[in-house]
Amino acid sequence: MALLERRDGGAAVIDDRFTRVDDEASLPDGPVIVSVSRFQAERDALLSRDGELGVWLESDESPTEIAEDLGHLAVVACNFPAFNDGRGFSYARLLRERYGYEGELRAIGEVMLEQAPFMVRSGFSTFEIQDLSDIAEFKAVVEEVRTVYQPTGDGRATAIQRRLGR
């Protein structure tokens, strides 16, 4: 497993400085990612703690639940329990476009390489990739289709905008 970060023109493998902590486990030092329920239960302690904080959303947990606290979070991770559970795409767009979240937005779980273009367009910036052989393909895949029709928060000019020279 590797963590890929979207960069202009491609992606790079980066170190994951965060530890994902189960609900029952005690908190280690340094940057951590916790569940929504743990965040809600231990919010004040987590926010006053030394070290960066992230929250992961299960696919049935809307980002609305953490919208108020996004300013305190260094990473939001959306779990894809199966490649065909696409709720995370809506969550990503809401986080970026509705709640103005600008930090790291991470896709975790069953992240399929061929979904990367959709994930990038929806606002994800990092990707947990299971299969390291996929990394070389990542760039080709993300940039493969030159035309986009839908406006999203990624700022790419849509076909309509390009037609109108905007």
Binding site: G86, R93, E114, F118, R146, T147, Y149
Partner: protein, 550 residues
């Protein structure tokens, strides 16, 4: 017709390259069938009972002669010389080779066609009225909006992994020929009190195991909000739709379980937040697309058609074809011609390469090179001069395409069934074939308007719920068995059929249809259609005849 610009071309070409790479990875064994499955499905490639099946999109059923010739060529070069028109106005090839599918897509791209999103849990090909642009009383050509929707839905980053497939239909007429009320979203063009054109929005219609007629969630949607409103509906559905049970995953169940009022509130709330975003359609873009759908240069003709009338007076076969297959056009001197691809004894919707080429030639000769595929699996020539109808009829007859049965009993909608489909419980094509052989055209004409729809399983691809007579194939202890429903309609008066009683064997079911028809003929008043008689007298008289008891 819409023509691709550089951006549309680039997308389709890139998509071919992408699929070629995916197929190569699969052929080399770099990805498993399990990993390949979602990728091939996004390009309309299914694995059926005996072979791969490729479903090619015919956006809103409109194509030109050049595209039809390409479909014929693909049938001949890459398949067994035929294709199958579907109820979603697409075409399916039943025997392509996996390694050749990227080449087929490249061939399609040459004529501005593709197979994108013809399967998978995404927004499917947007369908429409086959008479669009030619129908009397049409508010506006709905294909303008279908094309806008086609572009918006293509590779949508947020809505490509929905809980389930998603079907949109749009009509510009009060007379609904696109079955908009049994779609996930149905849009009906209308005018508001101020005369502005917009849409009534219906959500949650659908067939399958839990059939519903769509609910109107917005009386009037102004045009510029066409995309933002659909995005709001899809966003609510993507988050709320059930993912624990694929039979409860369609938006019709979401709406039903959430309640219409609450669902509507959620959509409206989401829409408020995005309606003035970049999704708001610029007038320049609407106009740019609308230009492509401007009417062809019709001649100024007299509506009288003496040559046609004379032929009808002397040739009963032609007169019958005129009555059943030809519809009124909005322009004097023109007519809309429906080509039945359902001659007696043939699988509904199957067309050979030679017939496709013949239809392309006839489109060039008689209909400004334009053709339509209809949701009842026929082909339409939308703009034919009335005085040319006899010549066209003769050309059609040469190719076995002049069967005068549109709207009649043998104009059956039928899914591929157990002859092809991995999901089917029973064969449906042989039942359709038997029914179409059983009744002479004279008998059918005497019976009048009749929609028989046959599905080989509960997924209802043959629309049996909305057939006046619906037939559903089921598996009963390993035997093919058929349930019969009465009273369905897919038109503007949409209704779902009711099951008459216990099921029948394949042999029995055709006899049951006999009895239903006899009952109707005895009970009908004047020129009342079957559906109206059924609505007036109810189920009992039919039940009594079929089972000998009510």
């Amino acid at each position: 017709m819409y023509r691709y610009d550089e951006f549309d071309h680039a997308l389709v070409q890139d998509r071919v390259t992408q699929f070629r790479r995916q197929v190569e990875r699969r052929m080399k064994g770099e990805i498993s069938e399990e990993q390949f499955r979602p990728l091939r499905l996004m390009n309309g490639l299914y694995l059926q009972l005996h072979a791969y099946m490729l479903r090619v999109a015919i956006p809103y059923g409109t194509l030109d002669s050049r595209q039809m010739r390409k479909l014929a060529y693909i049938a001949r070069r890459y398949d067994k010389g035929y294709g199958h028109f579907t109820t979603r106005q697409n075409i399916q090839y039943n025997w392509p080779k996996l390694e050749e599918t990227p080449d087929i897509l490249a061939e399609l791209a040459e004529v501005e066609m593709h197979a994108i999103q013809t399967s998978g849990n995404c927004i499917r090909n947007v369908t429409s009225d086959q008479y669009a642009g030619a129908a009397k009383g049409e508010i506006e050509d709905p294909r303008i909006w279908c094309e806008i929707a086609r572009q918006w839905s293509t590779l949508h980053p947020e809505f490509s992994f929905l809980p389930r497939k998603f079907k949109i239909a749009i009509t510009g007429c009060e007379n609904d020929r696109a079955a908009v009320k049994v779609h996930d979203i149905g849009m009906i063009m209308k005018r508001d009190a101020a005369g502005e054109v917009g849409f009534e929005v219906l959500v949650g219609g659908g067939l399958g195991r839990t059939p519903f007629v769509g609910k109107s969630i917005r009386e009037f949607l102004p045009k510029e909000h066409f995309l933002s409103y659909m995005e709001a509906i899809l966003r609510v559905y993507n988050q709320l739709g059930r993912r624990d049970n694929k039979y409860k995953a369609r938006i019709k169940v979401t709406l039903h379980e959430t309640g219409q009022e609450e669902f509507t509130r959620l959509v409206e709330e989401e829409w408020e937040a995005i309606k003035d975003s970049t999704l708001k359609l610029p007038k320049e873009e609407i106009d740019r697309i609308a230009v492509h759908f401007e009417p062809p240069e019709w001649k100024a003709l007299d509506d009288a058609a003496p040559t046609c009338d004379a032929r009808a007076a002397s040739d009963p076969g032609f007169a019958a074809w005129l009555r059943h297959n030809v519809a009124e056009h909005k322009t004097p001197g023109y007519a809309i011609v429906n080509i039945s691809v359902k001659p007696p004894g043939e699988p509904p919707g199957d067309v050979t390469d030679v017939q496709m080429e013949a239809m392309a030639d006839m489109a060039d000769a008689y209909s400004f090179s334009e053709l339509r595929v209809t949701h009842v699996q026929n082909v339409t020539l939308p703009h034919v001069e009335k005085e040319q109808l006899p010549a066209l009829y003769d050309d059609l007859a040469k190719h076995g395409l002049a069967t005068a049965n549109v709207g009649l009993l043998s104009d059956i909608i039928c899914c591929p069934g157990l002859d092809y489909c991995a999901l089917a419980n029973a064969r449906s094509i042989p039942v359709a074939q038997e029914l179409t052989r059983r009744y002479t055209l004279e008998r059918q004409q005497e019976i009048g308007d009749m929609q028989i729809k046959i599905s080989g399983c509960i997924n209802a691809c043959g629309h049996h719920h909305v057939g006046n007579i619906g037939i559903l194939g089921v598996d009963r202890k390993g035997e093919e068995h058929y349930q019969v429903q009465l009273g369905g309609s897919a038109s503007e008066d949409a209704s779902l059929g009711k099951i008459i009683g216990r099921g029948f064997t394949a042999e029995e079911v055709v006899e049951v249809v006999d009895k239903l028809l006899d009952t109707y003929v005895e009970l009908r008043e004047g020129d009342e259609a079957f559906i109206d008689t059924y609505r007036r007298v109810g189920m009992n008289p039919f039940k009594e005849r079929v089972y000998g008891t009510a």
